[in-house]
């Protein structure tokens, strides 16, 4: 496995740029791929898979041309190979029904309303990716600097020194 990848799915280039910029602190250690539609996001995931990279988190806007962000997250949750991927929805004005569907059917891990708080965004992405890294049993030490170090170290200790 080469790199841990976050896929940001957002059709508005300005908003996408702003999200990527807010996630700048992960750049050194985690790659951020951008996609502007659900199809494009699936291509990005396939590319990552082909390169031996591992998608750990998808941050999707709800309203996209064609399939919606919720559609994407639902399909990921329905795929046994992909369902470990952490899912975060970020949306301007999703209706109540869409939000409920995202939580019930997409196993949504977090929900942001626009405009998001950048500190909260960073903190949520950090926690969700840390959970992914632990559950996927990746090389924990590799992410101590960029993700939740203490949590990773504690997990590492528990694993290497079993009672």
């Amino acid at each position: 496995m080469n790199e841990l990848v976050i896929v940001v799915v957002e059709d508005d280039p300005d908003v996408r740029a702003a999200i990527v910029r807010d996630l700048d602190s992960f750049a050194d250690g985690i790659r951020i791929d951008q996609a502007d539609t659900v199809d494009d996001a699936r291509r990005a995931m396939a590319e990552a898979d082909a390169d031996g990279d591992r998608v750990g988190l998808i941050l999707a806007d709800h309203r996209l041309p064609g399939e919606s962000g919720v559609d994407l997250l639902v399909s990921i949750n329905a795929d046994p190979e992909l369902r470990t991927i952490r899912t975060v929805l970020i949306t301007g004005q999703a209706g109540h029904e869409d939000t409920i569907r995202a939580i019930n059917e997409a196993g949504l891990d977090w929900y942001f309303a626009k405009p998001w708080d950048p500190d909260e965004l960073v903190s949520v992405v950090k926690q969700q990716l840390t959970t992914f890294v632990i559950e996927a049993e990746l090389d924990l030490l590799r992410f101590v600097r960029v993700l939740d170090g203490p949590r990773l170290l504690e997990q590492y200790a528990r694993h290497t020194r079993p009672d």
Binding site: D14, Q34, D36, D40, R43, E47, R63, P65, G66
Partner: protein, 635 residues
């Protein structure tokens, strides 16, 4: 030659003189008409006339005090000199209350209300004069010449024969209730005949339009058999008078009250001049005893009267239901309309308030560009920043491909990310930059970000400004009034609505075909409501995909048409008209802007503007056409 005298008893001298003058004209000298003002004088006068060998065939009695009417007439009737005289009661009261006792005693032979018609007065005079003459002075019938013609004499004679036969009992047993070959009119005529026979020709009364025959809530002294004229049954509530029956009243008035403790439920009032036979309760009992056939006639009349009223009541119920439904629709439409207007006002107000800050942001951003450029010392960095302000963002797939190539070529993904962030879009450019030191890279990176941020701010502010411009069209008018404006630009209005609905477009493929059109005279805010409703309706049917055509062009020389064509599932033909009805919606429980009233309100607005709205739908093609007259309009 016998002297005939008609006595007019009137408490009001002038009224009595009027009546006397009229009677003299009718009598043309064949009888004298004397006027007195009270019952005592009348009695004394009658004695004098009798003593002189004169006859008094008829008195006209006008004593306006209702509570003393019966008593006065009875006193008159009881006077020996007047015992054979026919008494016609004249009343200017719009009610017949108080005459019951006199009718019962047989002291009243006719009744007429003020203002009398000449025809009515003549009828009463002739009928009673003829009756008196045949009974008491048959030899002198000719004295009255033309006034008592042969017909009149025959009728009077028949009546008197009936009167004499009244005491005799003649049983009949016609099964009338189920005999549909006999009309109501025939039944009524037969009833009158039987009443005449049983009661010795009870008097006919003739009342002026507006006369109250029975007052609601009061005891009913008897019934009225209506011979001709229309009687209205009505009831009074806080909301005014409610007419319940007019055509459906029936020929017998007061009969139903007998079933409710003799208390009248409704007011009975003459609409036209009404001729009727009053029958008191005792008379009714007497007649029923004497003529058993009357009972079955009454039953038949009662049943058909009830049936008629029930039908009328059913009609009223239906009318009521329809009115209530229409009322509730109208109310819902008003509420929705008011809501839209309020939202439009608020939006326009917001737009107004947002205009200044947005303009400030756009101006400040331009100043920021100039000032930051001036502050940056390094020419290369400054130029790079300016380039990034106008740079077009790469597509996400191009971006990912470029990064992969760069990562492969530099064997450093983090460095590749930085170079892309700086804005290099080709491998060659990026390879050159890869040799720069970290401080240089950082400076370029920051300049690029600065440039892109300025681009974002400008772009976002301009977007807000265009939305704000569109929202202002939803305002009621320049001065906040819902006023007509000349030369309203239909194309601009449709464009504004499209802009504000852009969030609903999804993958919809919009085709906009516009020809130049003349302005319309309209309330701009209301027209925006129409465009918004029609476009929203189309977008609802399209579920975020397909082709939406918006076509604006002239029709003839004096109209403009806006056509909105979607390729949604279409509207079934049987629903095409109904979609313009209030409350009609195929949107299930979704609450949209118009609450299911959008198209109904649109039609109302368009028609108010002298235009038309129609729909033409087939599966895969639904076309809404709004046509409006162009040019100035005079309301």
């Amino acid at each position: 030659m016998t002297r005939f005298v008609i006595i007019v008893v009137d408490t009001n001298r002038a009224d009595g003189d009027d009546l006397a003058r009229e009677l003299r004209e009718l009598l043309t000298g064949s009888a004298d008409v004397d006027v007195v003002t009270d019952v005592e004088t009348a009695q004394q006068h009658a004695e004098v006339i009798e003593a002189q060998g004169g006859l008094i065939p008829v008195t006209f009695v006008d004593v306006d005090l209702a509570d003393r009417l019966s008593a006065n007439v009875i006193r008159l009737h009881d006077a020996p000199a007047l015992s054979r005289t026919k008494n016609v009661v004249v009343t200017s009261k719009a009610s017949l209350r108080g005459a019951d006792a006199a009718l019962q005693r047989g002291a009243v032979h006719g009744m007429i209300t003020r203002p009398w018609s000449r025809e009515g007065l003549r009828a009463q005079l002739v009928a009673n004069l003829a009756a008196f003459m045949i009974e008491h002075a048959r030899d002198q019938l000719d004295d009255f010449g033309e006034l008592l013609d042969a017909d009149t004499r025959d009728r009077a004679r028949t009546r008197i024969l009936q009167q004499r036969a009244a005491t005799r009992h003649r049983p009949t047993s016609t099964p009338l209730l189920l005999d549909s070959s006999i009309t109501d009119t025939e039944i009524e005529a037969r009833m009158v005949e039987l009443f005449d026979r049983a009661l010795g020709h009870p008097p006919r009364i003739r009342v002026a339009p507006g006369t109250t025959l029975i007052e609601a809530g009061e005891d009913v002294g008897g019934i009225y058999v209506v011979l001709d004229g229309i009687v209205r049954l009505s009831t009074r509530t806080d909301g005014g008078e409610h007419i319940l029956h007019e055509r459906s009243t029936g020929a017998i008035i007061g009969l139903l009250s007998l079933a409710s403790h003799r208390r009248a439920m409704l007011q009975c009032r003459a609409v036209t001049e009404v001729r009727a036979v009053p029958i008191t309760l005792d008379q009714l009992a007497e007649a029923l005893g004497a003529e058993p056939e009357l009972a079955s006639l009454l039953t038949r009349v009662l049943v058909s009267s009830l049936a008629r009223r029930l039908r009328r009541s059913d009609e009223l119920q239906m009318e009521l239901d329809q009115s209530l439904a229409a009322l509730s629709e109208a109310r819902a439409q008003l509420v929705a309309s008011a809501r839209f207007a309020a939202l439009g006002e608020m939006a326009a107000g917001m737009a107004h308030e947002l205009n200044n800050p947005t303009a400030a942001i756009i101006r400040a951003t331009q100043h920021l560009v100039d000032d930051v450029a001036a502050v940056v010392a390094d020419d290369g960095v400054r130029e790079h920043m300016k380039e990034q302000i106008d740079a077009t963002p790469m597509s996400t797939s191009t971006l990912r491909a470029l990064r992969r190539d760069l990562t492969d070529s530099l064997a450093d993904r983090v460095l590749a990310d930085r170079l892309i962030d700086i804005g290099y879009t080709s491998l060659d450019e990026a390879r050159v930059a890869a040799s720069m030191d970290d401080a240089q890279l950082t400076q370029l990176e920051q300049a690029a970000r600065l440039g892109r941020s300025l681009q974002v701010i400008t772009g976002a502010a301009e977007h807000v400004q265009s939305l704000v411009g569109s929202l202002r069209a939803y305002s009621r008018g320049e001065d906040g009034q819902n006023a007509m404006a000349d030369d309203v630009d239909v194309v601009a209005g449709v464009d504004d609505a499209l802009r504000l609905l852009s969030h609903r477009m999804g993958e919809v493929d919009l085709h906009r075909e516009v020809e130049p059109v003349a302005g319309v005279t309209a309330r701009p805010g209301e027209l925006q409501q129409v465009w918004t409703n029609v476009l929203t309706n189309a977008l609802d049917a399209m579920h975020g995909r397909g082709r939406l055509s918006v076509v604006v062009g002239p029709v003839g020389t004096d109209r403009v048409a806006v056509r909105v064509i979607d390729d949604g599932q279409g509207i079934p033909p049987e629903l095409c008209e109904r979609i313009f009805e209030p409350r009609f919606t195929t949107k299930g429980t979704r609450v949209e802007f118009g609450l299911g009233l959008g198209l109904s309100i649109s039609r109302q607005i368009v028609e108010d503007h002298g235009g038309s709205i129609r729909v033409d739908s087939a599966p895969g093609r639904t076309e809404f056409t709004v046509e409006l007259p162009t040019g100035e309009r005079h309301e």
